[in-house]
Amino acid sequence: MTRVLELSHITKRFGAVTANEDVSLHLDRGEIVALLGENGAGKTTLMSILFGHYTADEGTVSVEGQELPPGRSRAAIRAGVGMVHQHFALAPNLSVLDNVMTGTEPLWRLRSDRAAGRAKLVALSERFGLRVDPDALVSELSVGECQRVEILKALYNDARILILDEPTAVLTAQEAEGLFATLRQMTENGLSLIFISHKLHEVMSASDRVVVLRRGRVVAERRTSDTSREELAELMVGRKVERPARPPATPGRVLLSAVDLSVAGKGGASLHGVSFRLRAGETLGIIGVSGNGQTTLAGLISGLYPPTSGSLSVDGRAVTRYSVPDAIAAGIGRIPEDRNAEGTIGDMTTWENAVLERIWSPDFSARGFVRRAAARKATADILERYDVRGATVDGRIRLLSGGNMQKLILGRVLEAGPDILVAAQPSRGLDEGAIAGVHARLLEARGRGAGVLLISEDLDEVIALSDRIRAIVNGRLSPAIPAERANAQLLGLMMAGDWTAAERIEAETHDAL
């Protein structure tokens, strides 16, 4: 095994904060190393040092035995290190070829050799199975295709070492699987890879070796075959993490009843004849690959748009007006799918974000004036009770990490005491510790007697939290099965549209529901 990359004794401080302390790490040819750690453990900082975006206070980086000069991304690129950023560094108005070729030729050359560039790009995309049209504008590409362009950019620079920063954060489960298959193929072509992640299942399935980072230090290094998910979770968080167990349900009256709902082309998909019931004190899990209509369903129940046909009743009363204020008044709380786009307004303060949804309630406004003291007090309570870290009442909410932002959203919606809670992808992008917290809160709401509609594409999450599970496929809902009967294989069949087994189980258990 040839050693292609070696980071030795890296220390990096930002003021009083130590982001990395005495971190050593190596990578051998043809190997996939996972850098595992919670958000804020210093993974991205470490990789930014390797790539020359930051200079380390101590320590060295060497590629194939040659030490890299600190703080020079160009030197890292030349040495064959390529980085695929978590937030894509692409220009939407330029073509794929333009994006890939930027900065690859001497700047003062009078003519750019685009024919050679195109040939090289096409050859690379064929060799690694990364199909993308060189002349398409990046703005026309899907998220998965954009990521392919990012990887091609690195390969075009003749990268032999590829670093991927949370590559699956924005991908659907299917796209993620495809990505890891591609990465495996790359190692067979002699590339070496490091990928940063906090998702245990992908680390277990895609890596050869795992390096666990906690609070800026390497706490463990394991061959993937010699470790387990449980061990890694404990190493990463520093204590034993157990996702909370679900106590038996005591379903009450029907809170939400949908009969033959159809919606055409809202929220990126359509619904066709969707019927289901949600009772008080139970969780109905809806599993499905993104883009099959779950966003549409959540939007409909939240009052964003009316159905084209069918009816919805909340607590026995048919909904006549579909609007968000009416939905909130009817006791529907929601955890939006996209925290940053729909859940919060980044440049407004924490307290404004915490009360905006209920700004017209007498708790927070009177005679046309905002009751700031009351609003700020309520926010401070949420921050404390829901353990939102790093937030101040008057700080911009943009500055919060994903996990803490989600805790605030949870606090905001649960404090309002909703009867029905629509939770769309509630733990997407969160690390293990934060996920456990979110799950505990959702179970708490159910225990209080709320009906929880859990929309997720994470099998484990749905099985752990739901009492009954339906799959959503192309805007249609499958029969419901009890969580006790669910397993990955059966849910996989249901998500693929094969409902024969599910129908049988539903018929068997129908009386119990």
């Binding site: 975006h53 991304s73 220009a91 939407p92 900065g103 009078l110 750019s112």
Partner: protein
């Protein structure tokens, strides 16, 4: 009606179109470069005034005409550097900085002019650029005198259109410039520093603005007076949007505006009973209409007016 055709058919008018368009072409290319690299440069109005003054003053004090042009370009680049310094590394508001530069540069131009030239009832003059007939080609009927009997700076402006179009779309540097205006983070990730690229490009664009101003004193007229820019800079800013940030369309836009202007000038002299202000208004109204039609399809540089700070998203 026949009056209109007489005007449209006259060689004089079409010759004037290219002349009127020249400062607009240079200015529009200047703004285009700045915006392509991601920075709005509202300093243009003042930079053109300063270019007009310094170019004229150089020639008035004994320099030759091309030295005057060079002085205007350098003066423009200097103000461009100031604008870049404030907006790129410091990341200040590009609107406020640009307007500040316009106010400063135009007042400064008048101040320097007044210091160096004594007050006189009629402004002092220089010998401007003379029309340069291209042999053979200028003998072509109609097209000859219109296209090939212009002054040298007009040919230079046309050459710049080709040069900048080639530069932006065919060279690695041009791709880097476009990338800086679309996503400077991506540029940085490829190992090119967007800060210096932006500063350099803004200086080049501002040099073109300065030359556009100097055309007015060194070729179109032969003297300097403080109000001579008359909003040409603002027209250039609008023309860039009209052109969807493309050099070829910028030329088209400048010619179109100049056509309206040349046409209304002649219309004023032949039509009686209509207030001349209405004719003066015409090019601006038509520009707004054209802008509405063209700008709907425009692809704005995504990072326009977004200061770049490393490590911040």
């Amino acid at each position: 009606m026949s009056v209109l055709f007489d005007i449209l058919g006259s060689v004089g008018m079409w010759e004037a179109v290219l002349r009127i368009a020249t400062p607009l072409i240079l200015g529009t290319l200047g703004v285009l470069l700045c915006e392509r690299v991601g920075v709005l440069n509202l300093g243009i109005e003042g930079i053109m005034a300063f270019g007009a003054m310094i170019g004229w003053l150089t020639v008035y004090s004994g320099g030759d005409l091309w030295t005057g042009m060079l002085a205007a370009a350098l003066g423009g680049a200097a103000f461009g550097f100031l604008h870049a310094l404030l907006t790129v590394p410091l990341g200040l508001s590009q609107h406020v900085t640009g307007l500040g530069i316009t106010l400063f540069a135009s007042s400064f131009a008048y101040y320097v002019f007044r210091l160096s030239v004594p007050t006189a009832s009629s402004p002092p003059t220089i010998d401007p650029f003379q029309p340069l007939s291209v042999p053979v080609l200028s003998d072509i009927p109609f097209l000859g005198p219109v296209l090939f009997n212009q002054t040298a700076p007009t040919y230079l402006a046309l050459a710049f259109v080709v040069l900048i179009a080639w530069g932006l779309y065919r060279t690695p540097l041009g791709l880097a410039v476009r990338m800086a205006g679309e996503n400077p983070h991506a540029l940085d990730a490829q190992g090119i520093d967007p800060i210096w690229l932006r500063i350099g490009t803004i200086m080049a664009g501002s040099a073109l603005m300065g030359m556009g101003g100097a055309f007015l004193t060194l070729s179109a007229f032969n003297s300097f007076f403080p109000t001579m820019i008359q909003g040409r800079g603002w027209i250039c800013v609008a023309l860039v949007v009209f052109a969807s940030w493309r050099p070829g369309r910028a030329l088209l836009g400048a010619l179109l505006f100049a056509l309206f202007d040349a046409f209304q000038l002649r219309l004023q002299t032949v039509v009686d009973g209509v207030p001349y202000q209405l004719f003066l208004m015409m090019p601006y109204v038509l520009s707004i209409v054209a802008l509405i039609i063209m700008a709907r399809r425009a692809r704005v540089p995504q990072a326009l007016m977004q200061p770049y700070r490393r490590g911040e998203r």
